[in-house]
């Protein structure tokens, strides 16, 4: 039982922090958002730091780092509201592709590590909400047809990892396989848009599109669930960074802004609310650690832990975002002010990978007689 960071991990944190401070200041982020929410130079910069290689096995030119390093990185990216989909391209994609046939691994993992290839998961569908097993996209003879929504950077990604159904009804737990599809393949159409947090996503349409099998229906859903859990853990860390900075902005504001002749940070009602925000932040950080440290466990333990984490994080994101916004008064709800973008990021994140209500249902369904971290 040990929650200290190693010196290497601290150095990694410092490096990412420096990059974010220098190359992702708020004004720069505004430009990137206006230009569509994805910037290739930023991606190259992240790759230059070695972040795209982080989770790629050393055998394929990566750094073979673990979940704790990923957590450190995501916290810092969160602090800077970095929109480029690093968790997708550098954590989820390598984790899934490491389970692919050797030739696929050899073809893609080195390019992911080097930052040349951006591969993202394309799993959301119009009717699926947060149900991973709800898959209407069909695979027939290795060719896919269907529509995936909200695919991160979907119109600039080089390839997609696509859950598609080889058998069964749209909501059957069985019959889901994972495929790799190149964006340049026949029958792929994309249409980009921004999300409310400024990040870039796309509808991706497959029309009898040729695809390579990553994992058959015997383990497709299990891998998809693993991907979602990696996503939740990464997002938890990211959210901690977002919330920590949102609180810091708020503290600055409360100690600066004067009303009725005094700094509003002297009003006890706001002081107590600040304490409550700090509480949510520290609970969230605790659960971010928990999510990360449970990622390698057996699926039943892992899934329960990750849902517990998302419930706590979801509550924290909503409370911290709303209260930090409220404590700013009018300025907090303007586009011009950085704080509102932290709030929007938290708002969007709560609805990614399942909202608090969804995961409360998961926790409820997976509850044991015992309780606690080692239940």
């Amino acid at each position: 039982m040990d929650f200290d960071f190693t010196e290497d991990q601290q150095a990694l944190r410092d490096a990412v922090q420096r990059f974010v401070d220098k190359d992702y200041a708020f004004e720069r982020r505004v430009q990137i958002a206006r230009a569509g929410g994805f910037d290739r130079a930023v991606w190259d910069g992240l790759a230059g730091l070695g972040l795209t290689a982080l989770a790629v096995p050393e055998a394929h030119g990566g750094l073979g780092q673990g979940a704790v390093e990923a957590m450190v990185v995501m916290e810092e990216l969160g602090r800077g509201l970095v929109m480029e989909p690093l968790a997708q391209g550098a954590l989820i994609a390598p984790a899934l592709l490491s389970k692919a046939p050797d030739d696929l691994q050899a073809a893609w993992l080195p390019r992911i590590a080097g930052g040349e290839a951006l591969v993202v998961l394309a799993h959301q569908e119009a009717k699926s909400r947060y149900r991973l097993h709800q898959v209407a996209t069909r695979a027939v003879d290795g060719r896919l047809s269907g529509v995936k929504s909200l695919v991160p950077a979907g119109d600039v990604a080089d390839a997609f990892i696509v859950p598609a159904r080889v058998s069964g009804a749209d909501d059957a737990a069985e019959g889901i396989a994972l495929y790799l599809v190149e964006r340049s393949a026949a029958g792929v159409h994309t249409r980009p848009y921004s999300l409310y947090d400024g990040s870039r996503a796309a509808e991706v349409h497959f029309d009898n599109t040729p695809a390579r099998l990553i994992a058959g229906p015997d383990r497709g859903l299990a891998l998809l669930e693993l991907a979602a859990d990696i996503g939740i853990a990464a997002q938890a860390a990211e959210a901690v960074g977002v919330m920590e900075r949102h609180l810091a902005l708020t503290v600055d504001y409360l100690n600066t802004r004067k009303q009725f002749g005094v700094a509003i940070g002297s009003f006890q009602a706001l002081r107590h609310r600040t304490a409550d925000v700090k509480m949510q932040l520290e609970l969230a950080r605790s659960m971010s650690y928990y999510a990360t440290l449970r990622l390698g466990d057996a699926p039943a333990v892992r899934r329960r832990a990750l849902s517990q984490a998302k419930v706590q994080l979801g509550q924290a994101m909503r409370f911290v975002g709303q209260q930090c916004t409220q404590m700013h008064g009018g300025i907090g709800v303007t586009d011009e002010y950085a704080g509102s973008h932290y709030f929007k990021r938290l708002t969007v994140m709560e609805m990614q990978w399942g909202d608090s209500m969804h995961h409360l249902g998961e926790v409820s369904a997976r509850m044991l007689d015992t309780a606690g971290v080692f239940a």
Binding site: Y130, L150, Y196, E203, Q259, T334, E336, M351
Partner: protein, 399 residues
Amino acid sequence: MDLNFTDAELAFRAEVREWVRANLPADIAHKVRNALRLNKDDLQRWARILGAKGWHGWAWPKQFGGPGWNAVQRHLFEEECALACAPRVVPFGPVMVAPVIMAFGSPEQQQRFLPGIMSGEVWWSQGYSEPGSGSDLASVKCRAERKGDKYIVNGQKTWTTLGQYGDWIFCLVRTSTEGKPQTGISFLLIDMKTAGVTVKPIIMLDGEHEVNEVWFDNVEVPAENLIGEENKGWTYAKHLLSHERTNIADVNRAKRELERLKRIAKAEGLIDDARFRDQIALCEVDVVALEMMVLRVLSGERSGKQPLDVAGLLKIRGSELQQRYTELMMLAGGPLALPHVHEAMEAGWQGDQWLGGAWIGGATHAIPLTGNYLNVRKTTIYGGSNEVQRNIVAQTVLG
């Protein structure tokens, strides 16, 4: 005690309902029902329709050309408009400045300004807040210096809602720096087309242009545009603020929006999800309780027997309830509510640039949900933040 409306009240309601349904343009109602973007034309068309009927100033007494309704009738009118999906009347003219002109304006000012407000022709804006003033409205810095028969106005107002469409603006201006901050404030009406008036947009977190900064650079205002006496503006402003809060609970809108929430939950297959349905049920209870509190206030106002001083409670509860049901709508929309497509907020948007329909999965109900959620964060901040309201309520309870 009687929960039911009288026959006369029911007849009144039926008359209003019939008229609103016959006269509210369907395209405008469609936008309100689906929380799409309303433009100046939408708002002004409806204002003129009301004006032609003599109902744009529905709370006005007969002597100024209003219908002379009592508190219950006014509530019924507001409810019928809300449930029929009429836009909220832009309040700055008929609800905010008009009562001040009626109470404190000269007969000439009343004749000059009130008809244009009632008819919906003249668009008024509010010039109260200033940068840094927040809930401390008396800290007015915008100066007006008397020079002959004119005031020369310099300074800035902010958070001026829909000021980009304004013809006139009523302002609190500082005419004296002596004594307490409240004692040197005057109430001035300013033609926004005067040289030196500049309106600059403030874009809100939902990406919409709803509020503005208004700058005054040596703006010349005829002294006849001063309401009442110089340096007495704070008195008039307080009168206005008391009017501003009458309908602050906005419970009629809550009733309409709760219906919308249920429609969305149905469309998303959530209405039979026990967990989500419970949250709607809690809102349902909150709406009934708030409506009962509003009805108690109306009853007390009408009879004069048990006046209830609960404006602060209504503001707090109404705004928090609005935020909650808007949040639930967004959560119901789920992932489909996340894309931000500015033009999709326009009615009739066909989404032709999208693959496969006007919105992901054809779920057009999801289009405005996150934007709506972000937008209403302001409601616990403006009009005296909920923190200030709690101070006021505590004062009445604790002294």
